[in-house]
């Protein structure tokens, strides 16, 4: 159980007085400020206490199954209407499955129910569905529509809120557990008081401007703050009370008894609420954090070990020696030799295969005589050995010194990128030149050694290095690039970029490590380091200079220069330090690879201000965009022992990174963050530049007199407000929620305007029923599932949806419920049902959402994902919801855009829906999957296939004429075509 709500306790005492008396206390509070209109409106029906109406008598005494039905029937009889006949069992079952869990029953479930003769067969279905976790997934969507939940910030940048989803999961879980509605309210407004942090996602579900999107001037900042508070006030009023309190920001409410002062009194309850992320507390998360800490320690050790194996940078800018595929002449000071060895450290990249085994077509060793002889030839008695050879007809070790040129007479190593050949001359000789080539016929240019060492000597223990071409360091890497150099004392360090892959260069972090046994990153601003730059892209919240050394990785925390292709960053350390390593990246989160610095140099200045270069890009390989073959850590140039060590470290690191990622999900939450509540003023015309009277937290004067002192603690305010809203005496709370539940089942509420119970809202079609339900709701201990059960077990819900013309003439929309109002399924239900029929639906619950778009905004916008697999086949409520960007196929089916609160989806019908559902790749792929499933279930027989397809899609058998329609299509155009049609059919798309 929840811990005792201590602040609520004392508040409860206060509240008793707030609700004493019958109707809204006209004399209570301080209505002196309220306009005449506002006071006058207090006699509105929804402001009156919930009454307990008598159960009406009806002429027909047999039809009703419960009291709810008696209210419906009495109203129908009043207008001479009759309820419709009971729907058949299949229809009822399909209806209740779609309604309660948003998925169709399987043919087996249909059969089981049709044949279930037990008297409580219906009840068993209802209870089964309400206890299914699928129920929460379906009904949470109704709530999230109202809350305008999304996984992005909205507005122009629409940055993702990677940790908003715990709120979505909270709602799903709360519904599944049937937590009492008053607690549901309390947790969403003040869950932080009972360690249900995620629930306060409610407070900050609105779109919000990020700091950098708000003008630098104070006026803009105050306006943005006021706008974000208005969202909270508006959402609280609409969601729980069904009142448009937000209307009173600029003036007294035009229609409802809400003076402008009341608006600010409500705002005062939220004065300390901030938008942003906060750690999500839970015992499990505490353990995870601890484990991540431990992993980090180990990762640091690994990084340290690996950095010792990073190739050293050569500061020299001397042009590096290029090798030639045809022929390379190595001339050196003549020396006496019996042995000559060529060790290859690296090769050029094969255009498609990357690093592959080096090849030599001939290797010649010349004496330093006036008529030099090639003493390497096997015909002269030289012997050759190699690190290893890949042998085929063309490639053999013997070919290397057989005097024949060309690829078909060559040697190939058996190791990618490396290998050595050793020549033992028949007798010692004075040698002065070596010539080698990869293919002297000029046909092949791959497999060319680019880094190597040439040695010679009289014995293997006494070899002299004649030529050494060090391997190029690996190309820069968008994720992370390390420059290692000999330890040097630095007071300042400058990274200068002179070319990048596109636009202006971007760095997400620049780190500088000391050469101590326990290296420290002294670049961090927190270490006292100051940073300057040539320029910084203006007008961007995510690209700022301070992000370069804030210890936070990723594009969303990066620096971009304001110069095309160039820019520099300079760090000044708090004191001179001995350093030996610089690590920088474009995007450690590996989402972005553009703007990557490709030409750069790193210089340091000592305390005296003398600059010297320590590393640069000149000894790196060329960066090839999109080349995944270039590993993050290169093994080039390592000896076998080092290679083994590095490989082991790398694989351990990879495993740890994967583990950390899994552990990190769900540690933070985008939910309310709370600071001290500042003062709240009435704002003339809602304008923060025109503050008027100071107000303290107080409830709506039309509904009560409860208030708190202006200096009340922040959390106490929200707890108090939640208690006031969730009090059974509040006439709006229970009515509004039972009406939402009713709307979920029948498509339209007893009050059509489900977020407006004020004067401009609709009157209830069944006022007594609404009150009876509201009373039933809090008498049940605010059990939402209790309300579902009442409705689902009713005769009203069990009616056929068939249209009766006589009744239709009187009540076209069936608002009086003379039939069950059939309607098109919601977008999510359609998508989920297609996947369910295919048996492809992935029922993984909770966690970060799957992508409907290939990128999450930025320069790439939101190009839709067209083909889904794995997580993409989860229920649609688990999609990463991008505010304002509707899903490319199902968005057109009235998916709310999460811009403003959606109290009810108004089903529309448009040709775009038809185009999307008929032609999208999603439908085609799912039609194929559907066909495959039918084939698996039914075998090759046409008739059986048609039967099975109908059972799966519609829960019934096809009749003979439907078979006749389907058969030729199946024969001539295949089962997939039939499946595509079924997915588009009205029978599939409508709640029956």
């Amino acid at each position: 159980m929840r811990p005792v709500f201590s602040p609520a306790k004392w508040l409860a005492l206060l509240l008793v007085s707030a609700w004493s008396g019958d109707a809204a206390p006209l004399d209570a509070g301080s209505p002196t400020q309220a306009s005449v209109q506002a006071v006058k409106g207090r006699d509105h029906w929804s402001f009156q206490p919930v009454k307990r109406p008598p159960i009406p008598e009806t002429l027909d005494t047999k039809w009703a199954r419960n009291d709810l039905d008696r209210f419906i029937l009495a109203r129908l009889e009043q207008d001479g209407l009759r309820p419709s006949a009971e729907a058949d069992r299949v229809t009822w079952l399909r209806r209740i499955y779609f309604d309660v869990i948003g998925l169709p029953p399987t043919p087996e479930q249909v059969m089981a129910f049709v044949n279930d003769e037990r008297p409580d067969a219906h009840e068993r279905v209802v209870d089964g569905l309400l206890s299914s976790p699928r129920y929460g997934e379906r009904w949470a969507q109704h709530w999230l529509d109202v809350v305008r939940y999304a996984d992005t910030d909205g507005f122009e940048v629409n940055t993702e809120r990677p940790n908003a989803w715990p709120y979505r999961d909270y709602v799903i879980g709360a519904l599944n557990q049937d937590i009492p509605y008053d607690r549901f309210i309390r947790e969403q407004l003040a869950g932080d008081a009972s360690a249900v942090d995620a629930a306060t996602g409610f407070l900050v579900a609105a779109a919000a401007l990020l700091p950098g999107q708000i003008g630098a001037d104070d006026i803009s900042k105050r306006l943005a703050r006021q706008d974000s508070l208005s969202e909270i006030v508006g959402a609280t009023g609409q969601t729980f009370l069904g009142l448009s309190i937000g209307c009173a920001r600029c003036h007294d409410h035009k229609f409802d008894p809400i003076p402008q002062r009341d608006y600010y009194a409500i705002q005062a309850f939220f004065a300390g609420v901030q938008y942003g992320e906060r750690p999500l507390r839970s015992p499990e998360n505490d353990l995870r954090r601890k484990e991540i800490e431990e992993i980090k320690v180990r990762e640091t050790q690994i990084d340290r070990a690996l950095s010792r194996l990073e190739p050293m940078a050569r500061a020299s800018s001397q042009p590096r020696r290029e090798t030639n595929a045809r022929l390379n002449e190595e001339i050196f000071s003549p020396l006496e030799a019996k042995f000559v060895r060529l060790t290859i450290h690296d090769v050029n990249l094969h255009p498609t295969l990357g690093v592959i085994e080096p090849c030599l077509d001939e290797f010649e060793i010349f004496t330093s005589e006036s008529a030099p002889r090639n003493v390497a030839l096997t015909s002269l008695g030289a012997k050759v050995t190699a690190s290893g050879s890949h042998t085929s007809e063309s490639h053999r070790l013997e070919h290397i010194n057989d005097g024949q040129y060309g690829n078909s007479h060559s040697w190939i190593s058996d190791e990618p990128g490396r290998g050595w050949v050793l020549f033992e001359l028949p007798e010692k000789a004075r040698v002065g030149k070596v010539i080698w080539g990869r293919d002297r016929e000029g046909k092949f240019a791959d497999r060319l050694a680019t880094a190597y060492t040439l040695e010679a000597g009289l014995s293997l223990d006494a070899m002299t290095t004649l030529i050494s071409v060090a391997p190029l360091r690996p190309a820069v890497n968008p994720r992370q690039t390390t420059d290692r150099f000999d330890p040097v004392v630095a007071q300042r360090l400058r990274l200068s970029i002179s070319a990048c892959t596109s636009l202006q260069p971007c760095l997400d972090e620049l780190e500088v490590f000391t050469s101590e046994p326990e290296p420290r990153n002294i670049a961090l601003a927190s270490a006292g380091t100051k940073v300057t730059a040539s320029s910084t892209l203006p007008d961007s919240p995510i690209h700022q200079l301070k992000h370069i050394n804030d210890g936070v990785y990723g594009n969303a925390n990066s620096w971009i220069s304001n110069e095309e292709g160039q820019g520099w960053i300079e760090l000044e350390f708090s004191s001179p330090q001995k350093i030996d390593r610089v690590v920088w990246g474009r995007d450690r989160e590996e989402k972005f690879v553009d703007r990557l610095a490709t030409d750069y140099r790193i210089e340091v200045a000592d305390a005296s201000g003398k600059w010297s270069k320590v590393a640069g890009s000149q000894d790196r390989q060329k960066y090839v965009a999109g080349d995944k073959k270039v590993a993050a850590f290169s093994l080039v140039g390592l000896n076998p022992g080092e290679t083994k060590e590095a490989t082991r470290l790398l694989s351990e690191k990879k495993a740890l990174e994967k583990k950390t990622l899994a552990l990190s999900t769900g540690l933070m939450v985008y939910a309310g963050s709370f600071t001290n509540a500042g003062e709240t003023h009435v704002l003339h015309r809602g304008d923060p530049e025109q503050p008027r009277d100071l107000v303290g937290p107080a409830v709506l004067t039309a509904l009560g007199s409860f208030s708190l002192p202006s200096d009340s603690a922040e959390q106490d305010r929200r707890v108090a407000l939640a208690s006031w809203i969730g009090d059974p005496a509040n006439p709006l709370t229970s009515r509004v929620m039972v009406n939402r539940i009713w709307q979920g089942h029948f498509g339209i509420g007893l009050v059509e305007t489900s977020s407006d119970f004020g004067h401009t809202g609709a009157l209830p079609s069944h006022p007594a029923l609404l009150d009876w339900l509201a009373g039933e709701f809090f008498r049940s201990g605010w059990s939402i599932k209790h309300m579902h059960r009442l409705i689902l077990m009713s005769a009203t819900f069990r009616q056929s949806s068939r249209i009766n013309r006589a009744s239709q003439a009187i009540d076209a929309d069936a608002r009086l419920l003379w039939r069950f109002p059939a309607r098109r399924l919601d977008a999510e239900t359609i998508r989920d049902s297609m996947l369910s029929v295919n048996d492809r639906l992935n029922l993984k619950m909770g966690g970060a959402g799957f992508n409907l778009f290939n990128s999450r905004g930025g320069l790439n916008g939101f190009p839709p994902v067209e083909s889904f697999s794995n997580d993409g086949l989860r229920r649609m409520i688990y999609a990463h919801k991008v505010r304002m960007e509707r899903d490319s196929v199902f968005g057109a089916f009235d998916c709310p855009d999460a811009g403003q609160s959606t109290s009810r989806r108004r089903p529309s019908t448009s040709p775009l829906q038809a185009l999307n559902l008929f032609n999208s790749r999603f439908t085609l792929e799912e039609s194929e999957a559907f066909a495959k499933r039918v084939q698996t279930d039914a075998g090759a027989d046409d008739g059986k296939q048609i039967s099975r397809a109908y059972q799966l899609a519609f829960g019934r058998e096809p009749d003979s004429s439907e078979r006749q329609d389907a058969e030729p299509v199946l024969r001539e155009h295949g089962l997939t075509t039939l499946c595509r049609v079924l997915f588009n059919s009205n029978e599939f798309l409508f709640l029956p």
Binding site: F155, S908, V969
Partner: protein, 497 residues
Amino acid sequence: MKPTPPRTISRADDLSATGHHLLDRRQFLSRTATGLGAIALTNLLGGDGLLAAQRPAVDATRPYAPRAPDFPAKARNVLVIFCAGAVSQLETWDYKPELIKHDGKPLAGGPPVTFQGPAGNLARPQYEFRPRGQSGKMISDLVPHLAQLADEVSFIHSLTSKTNTHGPGENFLSTGFVPDGFPSIGAWVSYALGSENQNLPAFVSIPDPRGVPQASVNNWGAGFLPAEFQGTSFSAKEPLRNLAVPAGILPASDRAARSLLQRLNQRHLEKNPDDGSLAARIASYELAARMQLSVPEISDLSTEPAHILKSYGADDTSNPVKVAFARNCILARRLIEAGVRFVQLFNGAYASGGELNWDGHNKLKEQYDKHAAILDQPAAALVRDLQQRGLLEDTLVVWCTEFGRMPMFQKGSQGRDHNPDGFTCWLAGAGVKRGVSHGRTDELGRKAVENILSIHDLNATILHLLGLNHEALTFEHNGIQRRLTDVHGHVVNEILT
């Protein structure tokens, strides 16, 4: 408004017999949802407020049926040329000789900090201005082709916005509200008037070839209006998504699927007679099929003669972005010609340090040279082409941008910061005076000082020209009868004929 011949695509298939039968039978409609039957219930329940009154009443089974305006309209169509990123009024239409004199001096009493940071000194217009046309209107050399329209246009120099941030500013311009989630003006118009052409969407939005504007889909979204009123987005380059028969599906199979679907739905309807929503769905597949013919036809510019391509600059191979924008302009004309009610044509994309739109913070002149080369000739040719075809008589053209720019340069830069306090837009065509200017900013172009107008006034005026009373066009959303113009807006009669 003069009677004009119907402008529809010729080759459209008609509705099937079923579609006609279902949708055109008055008797039938009277029984369907939100038809007359609903009114019967209102009376029956006797409650004034039981069903919130909507203006207009939309028949859910025929959302695109043409609906009558409140009063005779001057304009039948609207073309909005939307320049994203905030075009500087000082480099285009708002001539400020005083600013030349004060070049390099600080602005006395000016804001020390503007949107991006510290303000610098006043900076002269970066282009020469000269008198244009008979009116002698001073317009800059940045837009020489558009400048030639001076005698056709009503300039409004005194617009103001509520925000100095691009995204919210675009929201405000297109939806009348700063937050996300409100219906765009095109959606309001579709909701109010339905469609003239039953083969094409009522509202088409053409994104810039370089990308979408900062408030992206908000500019053509339906917000809380029914989804069918949202703008359909496609351009000469990017076709409408899911329009074509999918690759890998043989035409014969596609036809077989359609006809089987028709039969299946027909049988289902027979079992559930009189259900308008089922009938509407059947009809929607027929409308979709007609769009599959008419949208590619209208987007196919190969039938445009060479001189037309040339006049729009669509032959300027030296500037591919200009060519792509010019093609969008031609598409816009074709859509107007075919009777698409509301066409929104974007020039300028998302935030990019001013590289891809008009957000000239740093290198204003350098970037504006590039942007104007894309906008100027094609947009001017579009207006001229509409005029020559007689379409301008019942088409309203609106050139607009989300806000203007400061008369100062930003400190340490060669560009101007955001200025929502006084900027320019212009209108031309149906019902609009020719060659006039309305409203004025101060001598330095910092703030509107005469006939100060808000975006609400601009939007009220657009609706007015379409025969709509902006105060009467409402939709109930969460307790509020929402309007495009919120609780504001006055028609700018001074520029109307």
